[in-house]
Amino acid sequence: MKAREAIEAVAKHRGEAVAVCALGMAANEWWAVTKGEDAFYMHGAMGFAASFALGLALSLLDAPIWLINSDGSLCMNLGCLLTEASQAPKNLKHFVIDNQVYQTVGGLPMVNQGRTDYAAIARGAGIPRARTIASLGELEKAMPAIAAEDGPSFTHLQVEAETGFLGTPPMTYEGPEMKYRFGRALEKRFGITVFGPQGY
């Protein structure tokens, strides 16, 4: 399956989930498919979408938080799996789009390309609900159960390596505007206070 197909299959079952997307391919593809403003699209801090999502999940315990991670980002911060396991948030689901290349920056191969069992690493870290899915049919069949299960869960999605420039444009806003659009969307949806009375 292609990355876009995997993202579409996951997004179809997101329901009310708030997404946090790793920078690059994961963020661009999630935006292309959902156009969702109730998602945070990382533009930096590569590797730390997972930790950002964990902080959000621990703060909004009743909100489903879906992390759309990538293999390159996960490998920059594998320790996030230990932290995730130790906190065991029931509302957090971790998806990893594994295209085996650094697609956004030229398609060069991932370190240890094709030999890493990310689901085994997640299980080893203490996340028992971890699996690898390598075909679109299998993913479409599995998604209802994945969407319904308690977190923390870890779903490794093996997609085709697309080494050419995908050309998927990033979201049409950035920086502070992303902060305010995301924060205001969460305030509206959950009745929480992110910004104070003077707007900061």
Binding site: S51, G55, L56
Partner: protein
Amino acid sequence: MPAIRESGGIMSVNESIHEQLKKAGVTLAASLPDDWVASLIKRIAADNTMRHVSVAREAEAITICSGAFFGGVRSVALMGATGLLTCTGELATLNLRHQIPVFLIVSQRGSIDDHRIYQEVQGRRTIPLLQAYDFPYHIVNKPDEISSIPDAYETSRLQKRPFVLFLTRKLVKGDGA
């Protein structure tokens, strides 16, 4: 003057910092220990009104606090100066880029009274580095300065960027230690 408990008696430094964090509305703390802040972390971890998250790398603490910001939760990242140096990339590309405030309490290692060779560079270069990024900081050197924490926290929110509150050796270890 050290803080006095409502029930009488003098508060310890860690007790005062913990109390001031609560006064600032902090309910989540993410940490990786340095030996100067270890006892403060232990104290906070034992407080069941505050969610404590142990992390494997300091930048996790920064980004967990950033996520918590959007959940409407006030948080603190606790670490040593060495850890702070490891997360300047994340502080710049996430917090500075998106103007996301994050409040850090950091041991001010490498000071003139910290005679550990592996803390020497931290002592010389941490503050110039913060100045280069234009990250505000405040140094707490005496027990009666701990009450500045709620103001420092508010400044972090107001300036919409990382704010580092340094704890000196004199504060956390005392004069004679």
